[in-house]
Symmetry: C2
Subunit: 82 residues, 2 copies
C-alpha cells in the first residue's frame, strides 16, 4: 500500500500554535515524539485515531492537517460484474 499519497501541515500548524514543539504535541495527544517526527515527515500513514487527535489539538478539521492526493492512486481494478 503506497504511502506517499498523504501530505500534512503539522509543522506549520505547530508554529502557528505558539511554536509548539514536537514533544509538546506528542504529550498532548499521548504518543511519543518519534511518532510525531515520522508522521510529520510523511514516513507512513498514521491511524485515523491519531490523525483526529492531532487535528483536535490544533482545533482544526482533519483536512486542514492532512490531504490525500487521489491523482496518485493506481488504476482501479475493473470487475464490476454488471
Amino acid at each position: 500500500m503506497s504511502k506517499d499519497h498523504i501530505s500534512n501541515n503539522i509543522r506549520k500548524l505547530r508554529f502557528f500554535k505558539d511554536e509548539m514543539t514536537q514533544q509538546a504535541l506528542a504529550d498532548e495527544i499521548g504518543v511519543t515524539r518519534q511518532t510525531i517526527v515520522a508522521i510529520e515527515k510523511g514516513k507512513y500513514s498514521p491511524t485515523l485515531e491519531i490523525a483526529y487527535r492531532i487535528a483536535h489539538v490544533f482545533e482544526v478539521e482533519l483536512n486542514e492537517v492532512f490531504s490525500y492526493d487521489h491523482s496518485k492512486d493506481k488504476y482501479k481494478k475493473r470487475n464490476q460484474k454488471k
Copy 2:
C-alpha cells in the same frame, strides 16, 4: 490507545451506493473484505490512507464517513517535565 472513539457510516453508505457489497468496496480500494468488515464494525482504527480511500469511493468527505468522539478522551497529561 483506546479504539472506541471512532464510529462510521460505512454500512449506510454502501447501501446508498447502490447496495455495494463489502467485497466490492474492498476491491475498489484495494484491501481485503476482512479489512472492510473490521473497520465497518469498528474493531480498530484504520490507517488514514484507507480511511481516505473509503471516503473517495463514496464521494464524500472523511467526516461524513467517520466521526471521532473527543468526549471519550482521557485527561490530558499536563506539563510533563520530560
